[in-house]
């Protein structure tokens, strides 16, 4: 049996659920919004993990779950907890469920996509870049500083720079233009990341266990995820094939990071040099699947259920 955790209507979770249904794999949704009607306990004894999950009064043995897919959200953003004080009984109950579920995911022998600890590398982009580089990928020349003079000197060497957040909080990637340069003194408050702009084509690679799905992304804006926010911004996605060596390197990177499922952002320059910009440990793959038809959800479903047939 497979456990799907999150909001059942959320696209990636819904797509994987649909594929499990199609494959005839027993599965159950743990709807995070139903925290008030969900109970969970687990026990550890002599290294063996056991426990019980109760969903709307129906109980399941945790030992029966062979696969777990988590798309859990920060529960403070749940509609059910809107305007709810942090220390209210309802908030506490939701936090307890989230916490207990995440702790169980760290110790269960089931296939978990993905466990919490390995997902942590994405909380610091420059930290993750160091791990990426160790796997043989090029990384953009990067400067993180609170000194505006160093940024100007860095710009003079690279002609075009982008800047973006370094933490797990999502930000729009921006080009360092004249208006940003005019605000450069603000970085004295907090070291900020600047990177050489890498020209070339964007390739998003989804790895799931031993399978690789590569998508070429062509866009006329710096951050293709936000093309819709630009007037005349356009992005087109199409399936592409990676050379075997590069595909293997992507799989090795995901394995090294401990990620069964990953979204790897590559930039391939006109002279075929491959930069790895980031590895997303909880990829919203539905955007790519719906634009290309690549069977990513099916691959995730097959991995969770333990069969590739």
């Amino acid at each position: 049996m497979v456990l799907l955790c999150g909001i059942p209507s959320e696209s990636p979770l819904a797509l994987v659920g649909a594929q499990l249904r199609r494959l005839g794999v027993p599965h159950v949704f743990l709807n995070q919004r139903r925290f008030a009607y969900t109970d969970l306990w687990f026990a550890l004894s002599n290294g063996h993990v056991s426990g019980r999950l109760s969903l709307d009064g129906r109980a399941y043995r945790l030992e029966d779950f062979r696969g777990v897919y988590t798309r859990l959200m920060d529960d403070r953003a749940l509609p059910e907890l809107k305007d709810e004080p942090e220390d209210s009984e309802r908030s506490r109950r939701s936090h307890a469920l989230l916490d207990t579920l995440m702790q169980w995911c760290e110790v269960t022998p089931a296939r978990v996509v993905n466990r919490t600890a390995p997902m942590g590398s994405n909380s610091s982009k420059p930290y993750q870049s160091q791990l990426i580089r160790e796997q043989g990928f090029s990384i953009p020349e990067t400067l993180i500083t609170n000194d505006p003079e160093l940024v100007r000197e860095f710009l003079s060497r690279h002609q075009q720079l982008i800047y973006k957040s370094i933490s797990g909080i999502r930000s729009v990637v921006e080009t360092l233009d004249e208006s940003a340069l005019a605000r450069l003194d603000h970085i004295r408050w907090c070291p900020t990341q600047f990177q050489e702009y890498i020209p070339g084509k964007n390739v998003r690679v989804h790895t799931i266990d031993t399978r690789v799905f590569a998508t070429e992304v062509v866009s006329n804006v710096t951050d293709y995820r936000y093309a819709h926010l630009h007037r005349n911004g356009e992005t087109t996605l199409s399936p592409t094939q990676l050379p075997d060596k590069l595909a293997d390197r992507c799989l090795r990177l995901s394995r090294t990071l401990g990620l069964a499922f990953a979204g790897i952002d590559l930039k391939v320059t006109p002279d075929e040099r491959v930069y790895c910009l980031e590895v997303n440990p909880s990829p919203a793959f539905s955007y790519y699947e719906s634009n290309t038809g690549q069977p990513i959800a099916e691959a995730v479903a097959r991995f969770l259920s333990g069969h590739w047939a």
Binding site: N46, S123, I139, T142
Partner: protein, 246 residues
């Protein structure tokens, strides 16, 4: 140059700093979170050649990664003197950016680092007690049963950090580079402690054992940020050896 990185009130780190200096580990810089919070400039570079960092402190000290040969790292969080001044809407973002920055810098420190930063802790990986229990069992240490529950009135204790019953006798050991120092424990348990250090990928690990109702010593807790002083002179010797190896 070697670094001792710690919170301002970390007396165990300051004890280790004096002990390392007495063993000739020099030049040795003690950098507290207060020092780091007042750094006037940071330069952290990444590229195909690796990582390079230079920062200048308010007292004029300039620390360059080129000169660092190892570190005892006990930082708990990213220090910032300016964070309280951030707008409320930007405080969480700024805080996470700083933690991310410190994680990258600390991870990139050259030489032996005890402990190297991870996303789950700037001075090594912090784990929930359930994970330690699982790892300890895997390391062959005697472990009591453990349970966590959301059910009302039953065992949801998210902040429980030890299996030691209140008032129980506790023995503390520290594992560093395959050496187990501190309180006396049987060799078989010491071997389990070494395995736990390896399984948890934690170079410097503190482990507590508690006497159970039958009088047997069982695993109680583990931490990447132990009080170093129970390790005594043996730990200081091991720290000096480990930091200066190679």
């Amino acid at each position: 140059m070697w670094l001792v990185l710690c919170e301002t009130q970390d007396v165990a780190a300051q004890w280790a700093y004096l002990g390392l200096r007495a063993r000739g580990v020099e030049p040795l810089e003690l950098l507290t979170s207060a020092n780091l919070a007042q750094a006037v400039s940071w330069e952290h570079r990444l590229g195909d050649k690796g990582a390079y960092t230079t920062f200048t402190l308010a007292d004029g000290r300039r620390i360059s990664s080129d000169a660092v040969r190892g570190a005892l790292n006990r930082l708990l969080t990213a220090p910032s003197a300016l964070l309280p001044l951030a707008r409320p809407s930007e405080k969480e973002y700024a805080s996470q950016e700083l933690v991310s920055f410190f994680l990258s810098w600390l991870h990139s420190l050259p030489g032996p680092v005890l402990n190297r930063a991870t996303p789950q802790g700037l001075s090594g990986q912090w784990r929930h007690l359930s994970e330690w229990v699982c790892l300890a069992a895997g390391a062959g240490l005697p472990v009591s049963s453990y349970a966590l529950s959301t059910e009302t009135g039953t065992g949801y204790a998210p902040f429980q950090s030890s299996l030691a019953p209140p008032g129980a006798a506790v023995r503390t050991v520290l594992v560093l580079a395959n050496q187990v120092v501190g309180d006396s424990i049987p060799e078989a348990m010491a071997e389990g402690c070494r395995r736990l250090g390896q399984l948890s990928n934690t170079a410097l690990l503190g482990i507590d054992f508690a006497a159970n109702a039958e009088g047997y010593w069982t695993f109680a807790s583990a931490t990447p940020l132990p009080d170093l002083r129970p390790g005594g002179e043996a730990l200081l010797d091991a720290l000096a050896t480990e930091l200066t190896r190679g």
